[in-house]
């Protein structure tokens, strides 16, 4: 096989490309896929060359009020990563992207400083000179000592590949929102603590001042006040004021609604416990402190160890003091959580965008094969990610976008306004109570009027087109916040209601609106921060009440693009598409010759309710430029699969692609891997965090398996044993060797359920029948001791249930295999070199096998008589005929499919909540001894 990078390079030759377009000399399935972004006139290495960093990284910067924009840390925290890339310069760039100018402090007309619960803003920008493109996530953290109590920060995902940023925008935004939310939660906690300390200080100061004044009063019998006394009184007054201010701030920060995150990986700061503590503390504190409201929640009890300090009247100048570091700004637990999340993000989005997309497609497809995916795939990670996201990211989105585009062509892009919010201090009620109020109000809320809003990506889109080609070094590709900031007054005037950024979130009726992060495209973004409505933006206070009232009465709300018309439209489109596919599938089903072909679409068809798979499982391919023209709106939209998705040629071409022979399979897989290696990131690595470890495992397993099939001439019967459910025992003295073999062979073991693979790497005790029921691949220790004799005795006793691979003497004892399937799976002359490639090859063959098993399992007449009188033998005959002729299985291959079918049946008929009753199926077949 030609190594893939060469191939890609070759296709870049201009004349060849022309030739290809003018008169394709080869059928499409044989042509080498073009570099995905050829239409942009870039060569695969151009961008890489121009960038000064070696791989994607995450940069956290801050706009320091003392020194301006400065980089704080990078993830991975490695100087090599950023290389010669000027982080300072880039920090300046990203921080100077119109960061939402949130006004915090004393709003005019308000007596106290108000905290603004600002949402994050998400921006994509590119610096073509630096060859850097970034997803920038701005956020603010609270700092009591900072100007306006806020410190602007940003987290940026920096990559040399702009397409990655654009196409993974949704995912990036979702992930960063989570991280940001975590950081902010920790920050709020830290801020509240800080405020409490400050309040203690102030209280202490006040007491001190008070006593001093009293002493002075007593000492003073002259009848007039000394200047000293007046000064003290003033000071006291200012302290009192400061106390009230700080109490108010504390109230505000406390009243931030803490949502319960579904993710279990971090536990948001729960205010309940604090409140409890507060109430406990209140009883004693109330007597001592003359607080304005008795029900207030001031925690003096929370930090009992804290000894209050006397506060000087004048605080130090801004520039004299050292600003808190990011770490100090955030509760340490949340800080580490955030860092972990960021690391996870870095790992997730590492690698080439093709790889990411392919992975997303295959995951989405796998998810839809709900009946068979458990067999050979690790389905545990499928559930982890929100399914909608996967689904939408992969296919739904594009259609939505199209429909939307079509239906709303006329409507001007509406700017989504994310109103910051603030609450008046009178409204201060503990959160729990508020919850009740909400509940009671819920029914009163009228059904919200649908508010269409424009996908802001359209916007982005327009921007991209213009800006990328422009010579400017920084292009702001799209920013929501800036827009909303500009049109703030405008929108307030035009919108009668508070356009709470609750987009299609289910919290209807709650007074807290759900704040989407500011780019509204991200309606699928799983991290939704709850912002109380009463935390209205700190607009001029005159306007504050109005929208509030409106909201109380349940004004208009934004809902996502789910009005029925649209939905129908989508349905129609998908139906039409489905028809195309179903048609072809049906023909295939009827005609036996085609039936023999693997049918990727057939396998999935009956299993999903909400739509048929519309994307063939094929490597990512670039759509022709002509198509791009016809679907201009797709260009650059983050759902990366759009272009070919609607391409009818791909739909019909499905079969051809799926006909891919072994060689082609390996070609295309290696294409992926090579593409990954030539991409922006020179550390090609898996896309999904959950399978991060397993990915490495897969690679290793693939490599070991490759070695195994090359090394052992009897690999086929061994693999057949595994595929047909006969336990394979790898016997050996050395644990490392045995474990290696077990790892290698584990990729052929079908799962019995959704749990871990039935593989036991190392056993030293005699095996029992229960073990064979539970494990399908066992590494067994051979020792010379008497115990070892027992082990061997047990093994020979159960020899009918097991195949034994002796790693020491290199022998295999197992039933004969004469089928053809395994030889495709494990060809010892295979040209595949890389472990991961081989793994993918195995996966594809096994997927074909799964679809066969699926067909076999779910064909009614193959298992049950058509008529009542039909004898069982007829059914058996039909079944065997189907297996032999229709599925093209020979000899022992039939047993493989039968075994898989049994597993499918067991999985399907199992009662929910109860696991599959493990059973051991076996055959009375003679075994043979294979030697090298």
């Amino acid at each position: 096989m030609i190594s893939a990078p060469d191939v890609v390079a070759f296709t870049r030759e201009e004349e060849l490309e022309d030739e290809l377009w003018s008169e394709p000399p080869l059928p499409e399935e044989y042509s080498v896929p073009l570099f995905p972004f050829a239409s942009h006139g870039a060569n695969p290495w151009a961008k890489v060359a121009s960038s000064k960093f070696t791989r994607d990284f995450i940069l956290i910067s801050e706009f320091s009020e003392q020194v301006g924009p400065q980089p704080l840390l990078t993830i991975p925290d490695d100087a090599k990563v950023s290389g010669t890339f000027d982080l300072n310069y880039f920090s300046l760039r990203i921080m100077s992207v119109d960061y939402q100018a949130s006004f915090v402090g004393h709003p005019p007309g308000s007596a106290y400083p108000k905290l603004n619960f600002v949402e994050d803003s998400k921006v994509v920008l590119g610096d073509s000179k630096e060859g850097a493109f970034a997803y920038v996530h701005h956020l603010t953290l609270y700092d009591l000592e900072a100007r306006g109590f806020v410190r602007p920060f940003c987290m940026a995902y920096i990559s040399a590949d702009e397409h990655k940023i654009m196409q993974q925008f949704q995912e990036l935004s979702a992930e960063f929102s989570k991280a940001s939310e975590c950081l902010k939660t920790g920050n709020r906690k830290a801020f509240a603590n800080e405020l409490e300390k400050k309040l203690k200080d102030l209280d202490y100061t006040r007491t001190v001042l008070h006593t001093e004044t009293e002493i002075q009063k007593k000492a003073n019998d002259k009848g007039y006040y000394t200047t000293q006394a007046i000064e003290k009184a003033n000071e006291l007054a200012s302290v009192e004021k400061s106390i009230i201010e700080h109490q108010d701030l504390l109230k505000q920060i406390r009243s931030y609604p803490y949502r319960k995150l579904k993710e279990s990986d971090f536990h948001p700061y729960e205010p309940e416990c604090a409140l409890d503590q507060a109430n406990a503390g209140c009883d004693q504190d109330l007597t001592t402190s003359d607080l304005a409201e008795p029900g207030d929640t001031h925690l003096y009890a929370q930090a009992p160890s804290y000894t209050p300090k006397l506060i000087k009247a004048k605080s130090a100048k801004c520039f004299d003091k050292k600003l808190k570091t990011l770490e100090e700004l955030c509760d340490i637990y949340f800080f580490t959580q955030t860092l972990d999340q960021l690391h996870q993000i870095e790992r997730t989005f590492r690698g080439d965008v093709c790889y990411l997309l392919t992975d997303q497609i295959s995951r989405a497809l796998l998810k839809q094969q709900s009946l068979t995916n458990f067999l050979f795939e690790d389905v545990s990670f499928l559930d982890e990610k929100s399914p909608e996201k996967q689904y939408r990211g992969c296919q739904g989105l594009s259609q939505d976008a199209v429909d939307r585009k079509c239906s709303e062509e006329s409507s001007p892009p509406k700017v989504v306004i994310s109103l910051g919010s603030y609450r008046s201090s009178v409204e201060c009620v503990p959160i729990k109570m508020e919850q009740e109020i909400e509940d009671s109000q819920e029914p009163k809320m009228p059904e919200s009027v649908t508010f269409e809003h424009q996908e802001n990506l359209d916007y982005l889109d327009a921007d991209i087109k213009g800006s990328i080609s422009s010579g400017e070094s920084i292009e702001v590709l799209g920013t929501e916040k800036s827009a909303s900031g500009l049109t703030k007054s405008d929108s307030q005037a035009s919108l009668p209601v508070s356009p709470s950024p609750q987009v299609g979130r289910s919290k209807v009726g709650s007074r807290r609106t759900v704040s989407e992060d500011s780019i509204e495209v991200l309606s699928t973004c799983p991290s939704e921060s709850l912002i109380p409505e009463d935390f209205k933006a700190s607009y001029p206070s005159a306007i504050n009440e109005e929208p509030y009232v409106d909201d109380e009465e349940g004004g208009l709300r934004f809902t996502p693009k789910l009005n029925p018309d649209n939905a129908d439209e989508q349905e129609d489109v998908s139906k039409q598409e489905n028809l195309v596919q179903v048609d072809s599938a049906c023909c295939i089903g009827k005609e036996s010759p085609n039936f023999l072909e693997p049918l990727p679409d057939l396998g999935q068809k009956p299993c999903d309710e909400d739509g048929v798979v519309r994307i063939p499982p094929q490597p990512y391919r670039q759509a022709e430029p002509g198509l791009r023209g016809s679907f201009p709106c797709h260009d650059g939209i983050s759902g990366g699969l759009l272009p070919y998705e609607l391409d009818s040629r791909y739909l019909t071409g499905n079969r051809e692609v799926s006909k891919s022979s072994l060689d082609e399979c390996s070609d295309s897989t290696s294409y992926i891997s090579s593409a990954a290696s030539t991409g922006s990131d020179r550390t090609p690595s898996p896309a999904h965090p959950a399978c991060q470890a397993s990915e490495r495992h897969k690679k290793k397993a693939g490599q070991n398996a490759l070695r195994f099939i090359r090394q052992y001439p009897f690999a086929h019967p061994a693999i057949y044993s595994l595929l047909s459910g006969r336990t394979l025992v790898v016997l050996g003295e050395e644990e490392a060797i045995v474990k290696k073999l077990v790892t290698a062979l584990s990729i052929f073991v079908p799962n019995c359920g959704v749990y871990a693979k039935p593989v036991k790497h190392w056993v030293t005790s005699p095996l029992h029948v229960v073990d064979f029921q539970k494990w399908k691949l066992i590494g067994l220790q051979r020792t010379a001791s008497p115990a070892g004799v027992n082990v061997l005795h047990a093994l020979s006793r159960h020899s009918r249930y097991v195949s034994v691979l002796d790693a020491d003497s290199k022998t295999l004892r197992c039933p004969l295999y004469k089928g053809t399937l395994v030889s495709r799976l494990a060809d010892h002359r295979t040209q595949i070199k890389r472990g991961s490639t081989y793994y993918m090859h195995v996966q594809s063959i096994l997927t074909q096998l799964c679809s066969k098993a699926f067909l076999f399992t779910f064909c009614h007449h193959l298992h049950l008589p058509i008529s009542e009188r039909e004898p069982e033998e007829a059914v058996v005959n039909r079944r065997m005929n189907f297996l032999r002729l229709q599925l093209g299985l020979a000899n022992e291959d039939i047993k493989i499919v039968q075994y898989l079918a049994e597993l499918l049946k067991l999985q399907y008929i199992q009662e929910p909540g109860r696991g599959v009753n493990p059973l051991l199926r076996f055959d009375y077949v003679p075994s043979f001894l294979y030697k090298i």
């Binding site: 489905n578 028809l579 179903v582 068809k605 009956p606 309710e609 048929v612 005699p766 029992h768 029948v769 229960v770 029921q773 051979r782 061997l792 047990a794 020979s796 006793r797 159960h798 020899s799 009918r800 034994v804 002796d806 020491d808 003497s809 022998t811 004892r813 399992t857 779910f858 009614h860 298992h863 049950l864 069982e872 039968q898 049994e902 049946k905 067991l906 399907y908 008929i909 009753n917 493990p918 059973l919 051991l920 199926r921 076996f922 055959d923 009375y924 077949v925 003679p926 075994s927 001894l929």
Partner: protein, 422 residues
Amino acid sequence: MLRWLIGGGREPQGLAETSSVQTIGEEQIQNPYTELLVLKGHQDIVRFLVQIDDYRFASAGDDGIVFLWNAQTGEKLFELHGHTHKITAIAPFSSSDASEEKNHFILTASADRTVIVWDCTSGRQVQKVSCFHSTVKCLTVLQRLDVWLSGGSDLCVWNRKLDLLCKTSHLTDAGISALVELPKNCVAAAVGKELIIFRLIASNDGSEGWNVLEIKRLVDHQDNILSLVSVNDVQPEIKLPQSPNETSVQHLTSDEECVFAAIGKGIYVYNLQMKRVIACQRTAHDSSVLHIEKLPNRQLISCSEDGSVRVWELREKQQLPAEPVPTGFFNMWGFGRANKQANQAPKKMQDNTPMYFLELVGDLIGHSSAVQMFLYFGELGLATCSADHLVILWKNGERESRLRSLRLFQKLAQNGDLQLKF
């Protein structure tokens, strides 16, 4: 090192002369059991299996726990705790008179000197009798009379409400080891070396009183009687298990024609009409056969201390002119020397009477310790219990596969997945 593996089980059949135990290869075409289900739960030796109805059975053993299983699915239905010692006897007891549906109970006797009646539908303890002076070693239900008998150091007769109807005097310290129902309201009880036949006589006053009369005492055995079987309804004849010195008769079973005896490691078929052993397998297992049972289809299943279960088929031997079986073959029996009757069998076999032999059609290997007992469930399969604390359900894989398909399509129809969605 792997020599033991090479060609394991490839030896030709019928090597009874050379190898001690007949073996069967890995190819067992007639063996229907191609699927097994391990039922875990017991913490000690499982000794008893008893069938409750068509699909349920109970297992009990030395851990004093009774488990109720679904023979179809292998599902554990109930876990009955109540005994503090090992269970010594178990008997199913169904009553149908009260209402239409049958109420299934099981009686369990334990070394804690109690007998507990369990309700199989609710899994609850119905009643507990604890007035025994000794461990009840056997339980027999006389369905016809709606009474049950418990045999320990004395024989007690109970009705279903657990009223003691009558009891015998103290028989022996060793106690009754086996009880079997005979016609004419008689029961035979094995007490040590003696066989005592009792008759139950309804008391004259017409109430629910019963009397137990000792009718006969048979003292032919030289050793303790281990097993009893009722052989014939017409004439109350009892097969008297002989107890030779070397081996002992572990278990007996019978159908109309024959008595099947598990003697030592071997299995012997004694024809009642011909009054002689018509077939035998001298070393059917590696060690003592613990339980045998005749299946309706001329098959015989035996289980043994060696942990295996074997399926035999009684076949008529082709009368070859040159019969390779030497006369001395049968004379070599240890059994033959001690048993005159059996001793004559080989000689008679030389006559032109039909000859039978037991052919091994399959063996089931799964237990790692002595298989104490098994229960044949017909189509549902075979349940075996063993000293390795396990109960294994052996099933016909083909049939199970078919049933699963059926269930699958039923569920598909239920879920509405069968409708076309396109």
